[in-house]
Symmetry: C2
């Protein structure tokens, strides 16, 4: 096991300065959502423990759950071998999806048909 000081700038961002971040429930291991971070989001997430994405539509920081109350609390932040993707293990309050489903990945493709796997939580 080796360790070294971490610098958010050491990750690889795309031409818009963004890196994909996968959120996984730290307890159930369900994949909840995928969104984007810039280097400042990575620093904020580590500093505050509140998972903070970059909203591409609003071009603004997006503290997950800040308005909905469905906060994502950081349990562990990991990144991949190529340093171009982040995995956040989180505690998710309520639904992660804006459709009120626990996970955004509620649609499957089975035998050529789309199948809805989850109902909204509320």
């Amino acid at each position: 096991m080796t360790s070294a000081a971490f610098d958010p700038a050491s990750l690889k961002y795309d031409d818009k300065g963004l890196i994909p971040a996968i959120a996984q429930d730290a307890e159930t291991h369900e994949v909840l959502m995928m969104a984007w971070m810039n280097a400042e989001c990575v620093a904020k997430t580590l500093d505050t423990g509140k998972v903070t994405y970059w909203s591409r539509s609003r071009q603004a920081f997006w503290v997950k759950g800040e308005t909905s109350g469905h906060l994502q609390t950081l349990i562990d932040l990991r990144y991949d071998c190529d340093q171009d993707c982040i995995l956040v293990m989180v505690h998710q309050e309520g639904p992660a999806c804006h459709t009120n489903r626990r996970s955004c990945f509620y649609t499957a493709v089975r035998e050529g048909e789309t199948v809805e796997l989850m109902e909204p939580m509320v």
Copy 2:
């Protein structure tokens, strides 16, 4: 539960025609890797049951494990509420990572330091 015919072209691809695809172990639920697909990769993955990405460095189809033997067999293909991210539930033969680790996400950031969580499998 609703169902409808699935068309790979109905997903949202970026300006390079690509969509991020997260691979998760269908049994342990470990997140193994993230790579990219185009619409043809999605169709091939569903048709063959072998998870097929687009190699951005080689600009070619990449049937995961075709050369290494570390095949990814599709168990279930899902996509998110925005139709701009795929989650493949897979059976992974051996390591998913080119470093011979089971998962590409073997580095964590804890108290400002990077920590290696996994050793190579072989």
